[in-house]
Amino acid sequence: MSETVSITIDGRTVAVPAGQLLIKAAEDAGTYIPRFCWHSRMKPVGMCRMCLIEVEGPRGTLLTTSCTMPVTEGMVVHTKSEVVRKAQEGVLEFLLINHPLDCPVCDRGGECPLQDQTLAHGPGESRFVEEKRHFPKPIPINDLVLLDRERCILCARCTRFSEEISGDPLIEFVDRGNHTQVNTFPDEPFASYFSGNTVQICPVGALTATPYRFRARPWDLEAVESTCAGCAVGCRVSVQAAQNEVVRLLGVDVGATNQGWLCDKGRFGFEYLRAPGRLSTPLVRGEDGELREATWGEALDRAASGLAAVLSEHGPAAIAGIGGARSTNEEAYAFGKLLRSVIGTGSLDARVGDGLDAALAVGGTGRIDDLERAKTILVWAPDLKEELPVLHLRVRRAATELGATLIVVHPRRTGLDPDADHVVHYRPGDGFSVLDRLRAGADDLAPVAAALAAGPVVAIVGRTGLTEPPDLASAVAEFAASLPGAAVLPVTRRGNLYGALDMGLAPTLLPGRASAEDEAARAALADAWGSPVPAPGRDADGILQGLADGSVKALVLLGADPAADHPDRASAEAAVAAAGFVVSFDLFLNDSNRGADVVLPVEGFSEVEGTMTNLEGRVQKVNRIVPGPGLSRPAVEALDDLAARLGRSLGGGADAMAKEIALAAPAYAGITWEALDWGRGRDGMIATLAGGAAAPAPAVFQRSVAPAEGMALHLARVLYDEGTMTLAGPAFAPLIKAAMLHLHSDDATRLGLAEGSTAVLTGSRGSTELAWTRDDSLAPGTAYLPFGLGVSVGAAVSVTVAPGDGSGER
């Protein structure tokens, strides 16, 4: 790797890594060679000819494409010779034969490589007077991306991305010669979760995305680097705004995390910030029982007096807090401090029954970048493509480009299956027995066990679905930790859940991942805060139970919607409704805070400054570029004001919280806003474990098993669910698919379900009619239902034919 060769570029001799492509070596050595088709994260094709340079050789000087030429010792290169200049002019003159000169109405105008390179290297005038070729102006290639084939210069960046990187080659070159164009198969759109990347890497304005199209000129944009909050991968983004509105997100290439890519949900998921339902003024419940607008002063007074009343009547244990998984670390920390120190309750949780065991979540030993060196990868986790899309791309790259052996264990097919070497599908509930047989090297799993013996192993571990008990993930993590050279990455979806746990938003965790059960740790924190720190209280499930049985009276929500997010929707809803007093800090009204007593509008992504921590413990900066709507305020300030009304301020705004975090959480020492804003810190800094804390808790696992009778239910998220990000912005509306029940063919036959008929899914919490489809990747006896699409029936499931659907009588 570290071997270098010396080459001479335009008379300057430099040492460059052996075997590197000339275009890259030259760029790193300070000589930029113009290009269209070459992209540093994809294989070269040499299609556009823009990168022609001269290389001296035994048979004279040769014009060659620098993007396909590896450097060799003693290579002599000319990038600015007369011949090169003529070649560049020729290439551009040819590209412009057909390229329309509609720059004034092109979204790319002003930041277009074709414009820029024509200015720098073009001939200035063309000898071609013929009519340019014509295609109907833009055609949609999916619900988000439009293609203008007249502008396309056929560089194949988009098609190569779809094949090499995202693995869904649904766009291709079609036709030939002068008619060559990029297109989809007739009636088969570019249905990719990653299509927005093609818009970003297209070197011209051929691909545009509907959310940004015609909304701004590039030179009017303001930009700030930030971190996507869409899921726990934490992709680095450039947030760009025009006239105080976010208009687009671009991926920033951070080698350790997103490598430049974003998923479409993250990229286009900013529209919710300006959605019509966005809260812009505080709301309090009036005497008529309806929420009405109020001033901040009035609303905060109401919140404080309501909480104070519960405090004095029932004590701090009757108050609990849920939320923080979508907030910044500073907000999460402030929330935890309000609950523990000012109110004095130990009942707080950022998870809503969908997370991992807290100790497991913060006990990871792996980094995403370990995938680059992995020999074997075990993914026993949610379908990464649906829940952590860019991590899916990283695993895919390791398996397809870097030669790692990929093992996927899941109740049904996942996005990674096509690239996996071993796929194990199991009936939900049978996870423990699969694990046992894997440990024992049972016959059918012997090849998998053998593959796992070849390290380094990266194990991506999480709950495959919401019906799966968290203890299985903990057991898998423990097993994985014993594998050779193991790096374990515990994964769960929500944006800043890891940060929230690091900030102590779990009953068992204090800021900095210290155990809340540890008296000394509590005492140390009490010293720092100047107030006692309560012993661990209830977790989210316990809080909901307490609300239902009346032992918890008041609930404080920070950007949380337990009614919608909890796998057992009906009981969560009932619990929240039973709460005596609810204060919610949120961007929207939702199923949980519609009945609240006080709703406080807070600022969200791109509106506040702070940090977030991704699933590998990487702390990254999020930045502010637009103000929140109306009267909305940063959550930290609102929390602080509420704390002050309850008797003690939290000690300031987000910047003050950031400084406090470094003190209260030693793992975060040195990770300051300043450090994250400059130099290498821009790529984030890993919060190293405090004093060897919290390895996955070796516990006696409660060995859950599949129900002997009825169907086992697999409940898992899909990328486009009915969440705030997807529902509130118009871009995703057409992408949200109605919930469908998936069944094995054998079950369909056994149940007498006819093709196209309706099935009835019955669970402990009710039953519902819905369309069904065959899915033979499921084990017989399993029903799969996508979560978050408005269908919820609870556990213990049976499936029958819909009454009156005579098609399937049996």
Binding site: P169, I171, E172, V174, R176, F185
Partner: protein, 200 residues
């Protein structure tokens, strides 16, 4: 699911001759054409399914090669427009075909007419092909007669030697070995795939 079990079986026979399934895409496209009389979207979907490619990838291959036809009449008349034929009046032959049939090159009516590059019969220029069967030394008048015959008689199939005798002129290589069964016949050392529809 437009392919019948015979076509599927034949597809599998073809696929096993290749190290990777996707390498069989081109013969399978011929098979798809034979099955439907032309290359349909459904046919391309079938090929995609059999090769493990996406339909877009199959479409890309199919649309690159001009002999995969998405539109096809009962017969295909290909008039050569490359240099030798051009010098010896190929343009007039094409004009005669267009005039007689009322079908422009690249268009399909009862039959399909196209202008193609060199069909390898330069010595017998100008050359025309009907369903890839060669006729050499064709005059504009003969081309008209040929088209009339195709349109009026609607022959089920055509044979090159027969066409040559009825509508051809000077041939290029009279001294060459006679090909006993026309262009569809077996070529030594190269077993036919049987993708041309007639069953070989």
């Amino acid at each position: 699911m437009s392919w019948d079990s015979d076509t599927r079986a034949r597809a599998e026979e073809i696929i096993v001759r290749y190290p990777q399934r996707r390498s069989a895409v081109m013969p399978l496209l011929y098979l798809a054409m034979a099955a439907d009389g032309k290359l349909t979207d459904e046919g391309m979907r079938e090929v995609a399914e059999h090769t493990g490619m996406t339909p877009a990838q199959v479409y890309s291959v199919a649309s690159f090669y001009s002999m995969y036809k998405r539109e096809l009449g009962e017969h295909l008349v290909s008039v050569c427009r490359s240099v030798s034929c051009h010098l010896l009046g190929g343009d007039d032959v094409l004009a005669a075909v267009v005039d007689e049939t009322g079908i422009r090159p690249g268009q399909t009516g009862a039959i399909t007419v196209e202008a193609v590059e060199c069909v390898g019969a330069c010595g017998g220029a100008p050359a025309v092909q009907v369903d890839y069967e060669l006729v050499e030394g064709v005059s504009p008048a003969q081309a008209r007669a040929l088209c009339r015959w195709l349109l009026d008689e609607r022959p089920g199939f055509v044979i090159g030697d027969d066409l040559q005798a009825r509508f051809g002129g000077q041939r290029s290589f009279d001294w060459g070995p006679a090909e006993p069964v026309g262009a569809l016949g077996p070529v030594p050392a190269f077993e036919p795939y049987g993708t041309t529809g007639g069953g070989a």
